[in-house]
């Protein structure tokens, strides 16, 4: 695994998130559930909790956009770049953007598995960079055969716990 330069991380134990735009490929409630599930994958390993807010500012702003969307990193249409996210910090920091031009799925049919992509991007939102270990969630390329029931690998967990420590299970 690798961390973002200077190892930025959230210092509050509660990190807020807000979903500001959606894909038309999935029902909104499914997107909401997937985002919650993806964040939970990380929070199960570290002493950090996520709280959804419906308006106003939030640490992690999540949205779908196409082409140029105001952050100097335009998307490129179907294929290639699927999404990106920013390291923890103010403003754009922590925000996760997904390319609206992809066909997003809940893992049931052909397309990009949103749960997998979201879990990956939230890894960046929490401070992880790309892993060079194939098969990890933080590996940069997307394999088409990701099933719905994937989980974080040892490498992903070691990376996130390096930043935040382990969740106390007692």
């Amino acid at each position: 695994y690798s961390l973002m330069p200077n190892s930025p991380k959230w210092h509050s134990r509660i990190v807020t998130y807000r979903i500001v735009s959606y894909t038309s490929d999935l029902p909104r409630i499914v997107v909401d559930q997937i985002v919650k599930k993806a964040l939970r994958m990380w929070s199960m390993q570290i002493p950090l909790n996520f709280k959804r807010v419906s308006w106003g500012t939030a640490d992690i702003i999540i949205g779908f956009a196409r082409r140029d969307h105001g952050d100097s990193f335009p998307f490129d249409g179907p294929g290639n770049t699927l999404g990106h996210a920013f390291a923890p910090g103010p403003g754009l920091g922590g925000d996760a953007h997904f390319d609206k031009d992809e066909y997003w799925t809940d893992g049931e049919d052909a397309g990009v598995n949103f749960l997998f992509a979201a879990t990956h991007e939230f890894g960046h939102s929490l401070g992880l960079s790309h892993s060079s270990v194939p098969g990890t969630v933080m590996y940069p390329t997307y394999q088409r055969d990701y099933s719905e029931d994937f989980s974080l690998t040892k490498d992903d967990i070691a990376g996130i716990q390096k930043l935040y420590g382990k969740r106390n299970t007692l």
Partner: protein, 77 residues
């Protein structure tokens, strides 16, 4: 510095694609943080993916470059 024509046996279109990919995802040296030549960036990419660091484009490297992926650079900025 652009990749030289000797950097691999690929078409002009692939060559351009490779340069764009390297500029986007391997913008600088992972240790020194300095902007490198594209050949050095290609070596960085080969290192990341556990391949021999030849600095030459190959069909396999082109295959990796065409996979869907995250837009965050592999050499973190």
């Amino acid at each position: 510095l652009p990749l030289s024509q000797e950097a691999g046996d690929v078409s002009a279109h692939q060559w351009e694609q490779a340069q764009n990919y390297l500029r986007k995802f391997y913008p600088h040296d992972s240790k020194t943080k300095k902007v490198n030549s594209l050949v050095d960036n290609l070596k960085e990419m080969q290192k990341f993916f556990g391949l021999p660091m030849t600095g030459k484009l190959s069909p396999y490297i082109m295959e990796i470059m065409q996979k869907p992926r995250c837009g965050v650079p592999d050499v973190a900025e």
